[in-house]
């Protein structure tokens, strides 16, 4: 019987070693002496949770109940050999990634190749070199436990993010609301909300003011991800409580700006556009805190008109004042708002820019339904590259 050495600590921390110690090992061999020898080596090296099988069929039967972390598998066995055990296990998603360490007295290259082709993870030849066997087992177990931990983290975090993402989507107008708006006001709305991460620093909303007019705002917080989303939720709480009886865009932005100055940390800010559709004057009245330039077009136009959007981003200087501006928005006309991710896509020798985006909109401007138009514009944008920041885009169309 060969000498059984103590386990060699490979690279890797003690946490890994601890995880490996309660690993569950299934040993499959038709030779009792081999079973004892392998068990002795493993026990000597701190492993203690074993299951045994003396042929392939028994191994497959015991798999589900024992749920091993690694299998030591002999090849030549009665009643289902090791090759077949490998193949069958790899067909089962539960065991597709389970480390299978083949230990065999077959040592021709063809046998080894066949074992790998059948799905073996590793192969050692008999007589067993205990140190090498343990080194290999340890490497496979470390990988398995590391992958399991990382997967658990990912699974857990993704579930949390999915729930938070759902909450964030609820802050924005829902499909049913858009439909009733179209029926009530004759204004059709298409929208896209696509954060780069699961959560984002963009938001938009629609409201009615005390005079029944439709208000729209689009906001883009600095940064992205969970942190930016925290700020979106804080602002949402304010926006929900704010009075909107006789909406004045500039005064509204001044209020929001003052609040954001007390809420945001130094270095954080938000760009925002807030406006109101005024059907009596056929205009879109708005104010901008450093937002992108709004676009409008009337039926039959070949290019959208870009509005002025100069203004200090909100959350920087509490005394900032904002200017009311307006753009023509006659019956049948459309309004397009978007976050800056849409104009920061790379083109030949720079970024797309608002003029470039207006050109893309121009290519789809004959599209009668604004929702389809938005889809087509987004399709064109997607061809230019992937967005580096959260993308939000809203299009409003006056049907009457």
């Amino acid at each position: 019987m060969p000498e059984v050495p103590e386990i060699v600590m490979l690279h890797g921390g003690s946490a890994k070693a601890a995880a490996a110690a309660d690993a569950r090992i299934m040993i499959v061999d038709d030779n009792r002496i081999n079973l004892h020898l392998l068990t002795a080596i493993l026990e000597r090296n701190g492993l203690s949770r074993f299951e045994f099988a003396q042929d392939g069929r028994e191994a497959l039967t015991k798999l589900a109940k024992f749920d091993p972390d690694l299998i030591l598998l002999d090849l030549m066995m009665p009643d289902l050999d090791g090759f077949e055990v490998c193949r069958r296990m790899r067909l089962d998603p539960r065991y597709a990634e389970l480390p299978i360490l083949v230990q065999s007295s077959l040592n021709r290259p063809e046998d080894r190749a066949r074992a790998f082709a059948a799905g073996a993870t590793d192969y050692v030849s008999k007589p067993i070199n205990a140190a090498e066997l343990m080194a290999r087992i340890r490497i496979h177990l470390q990988n398995r436990f590391l992958i399991r931990r990382l997967r658990d983290y990912r699974h857990h975090t993704e579930r949390e993010l999915a729930m938070a993402r759902q909450m964030q989507e609820q802050l924005m107008p829902q499909a049913a609301q858009l439909l009733s708006l179209e029926a009530d006001l004759g204004i059709r709305v298409g929208a896209q909300f696509a954060p780069t991460s699961e959560l984002g620093g963009d938001s938009w909303d629609l409201r009615r003011d005390g005079r029944g007019r439709l208000l729209v705002w689009l906001i883009d917080f600095s940064g992205h991800g969970v942190g930016a989303a925290l700020n979106v939720f804080r602002l949402h709480a304010i926006l929900k409580s704010i009075g909107l009886d006789d909406f004045d865009p500039a005064a509204f932005l001044e209020t929001i700006n003052r609040r954001l100055c007390t809420l945001l940390q130094t270095g954080q800010f938000a760009t925002m556009l807030a406006g109101v559709v005024d059907p009596e004057r056929d205009r879109f009245l708005y104010a901008s805190a450093g937002s992108t330039r709004p676009m409008v077009w009337a039926p039959g136009a070949t290019l959208p008109t870009l509005g002025d959007s100069r203004g200090l981003p909100a959350g920087i200087f509490s005394g900032a004042s904002y200017e009311n501006r307006s753009l023509p928005l006659p019956a049948g006309g459309s309004l397009f708002l978007y976050s800056d991710a849409a104009i920061e896509l790379p083109v030949d020798d720079g970024v797309l820019d608002d003029e470039g985006l207006a050109g893309l909109v121009g290519e789809c401007i004959d599209e009668p339904d604004c929702r389809t138009l938005l889809e087509r514009v987004l399709g064109k944008l997607a061809k230019l590259g992937s967005f580096e920041d959260d993308l939000t885009a809203v299009v409003l169309q006056r049907l009457r």
């Binding site: 490979l10 190749a113 992958i147 990382l150 804080r234």
Partner: protein
């Protein structure tokens, strides 16, 4: 020279089906014999690997790794200048290559040599003459693991980065040490916040604000649930409370208004515990309104039994028209006030903790029992009347002020 390769019966099948995207992994082949180098390269490129680099000896290999860390190294042992064992040791000693898959290929077949290869940190070992199918199978297995682990680690790194930013924003909502020290000086109240997971996102927030020289507004929010969504909701409520904290508003009317506004927030789904109160040290009063199991607890200087306050039966954030009432507790010199959730479990623990402990030590005993038993699960804010601490004889103090 005899080619170090044998044809394999499974050649056609192996490498044809690469499940994970590992074709474009960067593989460094370290081998001093040109023919062997060429051979290994041919096997790998023939199997579909598109990025294979070469190094002629150990030193060359370390230089190549310094330029860019490969995804896998195929490493010979016997080489001039620096052998493969030494390369392995170097790579394992550096954190950025500690987990890099290293596949040693060697003509050395003694048990000692094999063991040494693993001792210096090799991931795997194949013996020359190389079998093409086995080499490809092993390279593929290690690369698949490597790519999988790398993707999972990238996800974790991205999220940890995002959460770190979110934590700083979240922490910024909590009262800072300066504010707390200032209130102790101006209002004579020592404030301690007990929460073991201070650096985690979650649904727990609290705040304190001076309302003139005589009064302190205090509040505590606790939204159970998963950390990110709970934090998003707590941020909303925190913002609303910030809007509503005015000197003229009583805790009950504030909580009533807060509840009305919270009911209008679409996303607020979880049940929230809220405590809002006004401390008036000069009058020895604490006026409060609460929703959920966060009854305030007052420990008086001269009593061994904590006094537990009231809470509303109506849950928070469910019915917009719910009215919350003001309640009162006396908060005399030497008293300690606790706001925490869930408060029901705290009382018996506190009773045991303060038995026989008097004077300034009592507040510390309370802080101790909270830190010990409740830290990780909940958030508790402790307010101690600082004026007690001036008195040298707690019983005399209690008698004087109790009159």
């Amino acid at each position: 020279m005899i080619p170090n390769i044998r044809p394999s019966i499974q050649r056609a099948n192996i490498g044809a089906d690469l499940r994970l995207p590992i074709h474009d992994c960067d593989i460094l082949v370290v081998e001093d014999v040109p023919w062997n180098r060429h051979l290994i390269g041919t096997i790998l490129t023939g199997a579909g690997f598109t990025r294979v680099r070469y190094a002629n000896d150990g030193q060359d290999a370390l230089d190549a790794v310094a330029v860019a860390i490969p995804d896998l190294v195929v490493l010979d042992i016997m080489m001039p200048r620096m052998d493969g064992f030494e390369v392995c040791r170097h790579l394992r000693a550096a954190p950025e290559t500690a987990e890099l898959p290293i596949l040693i290929q060697t003509a050395l077949t003694s048990t000692d040599d094999r063991n040494q290869a693993f001792q210096v940190g090799s991931t795997d070992l194949v013996v020359k003459p190389l079998d093409q199918a086995e080499l490809i199978a092993r390279v593929r297995i290690h690369l698949e693991n490597h790519v999988l682990i790398r993707d999972l680690q990238l996800f974790r790194a991205r999220l940890e980065g995002e959460l770190e930013v979110a934590r700083t924003i979240y922490q910024d909502l909590l009262p800072g040490a300066d504010l707390i020290a200032g209130l102790q000086a101006s209002h004579g109240v020592v404030i301690r916040s007990q929460s073991r997971d201070r650096n985690e996102l979650g649904g727990r927030l609290w705040g304190v604000k001076a309302q003139g020289p005589e009064r302190l507004s205090v509040y505590l929010l606790d939204i159970p649930g998963r950390s990110i969504s709970a934090a998003l909701n707590a941020c909303q409520l925190h913002t609303l409370i910030g809007d509503l904290l005015e000197p003229s508003r009583s805790p009950g009317s504030l909580l009533t208004e807060l509840n009305g506004r919270a009911c209008r927030l679409e996303a607020l789904g979880d049940i929230a515990f809220v405590a809002i109160g006004t401390i008036e040290p000069a009058n020895g009063r604490f006026t409060y309104a609460t929703a959920g199991d966060c009854r305030p607890i007052v420990i008086h200087a001269d009593h061994d039994i904590p006094v537990v306050g009231e809470t509303a039966n109506t849950p928070f954030g469910v019915v917009a028209t719910t009215q919350y009432e003001d309640h009162g507790l006396s908060f005399g010199p030497g008293a300690t006030l606790l706001l925490g959730t869930p408060s029901s479990e705290l009382t018996s623990l506190l009773t045991a903790a303060i038995a026989g402990v008097n004077g300034p030590a009592r507040a510390d005993a309370v802080a101790g029992v909270i830190a010990e038993t409740c830290g990780g699960k909940r958030s508790t804010i402790q307010f101690d009347r600082a004026d007690h601490r001036a008195g040298s004889d707690p019983t005399a103090d209690a008698r004087t002020n109790g009159a």
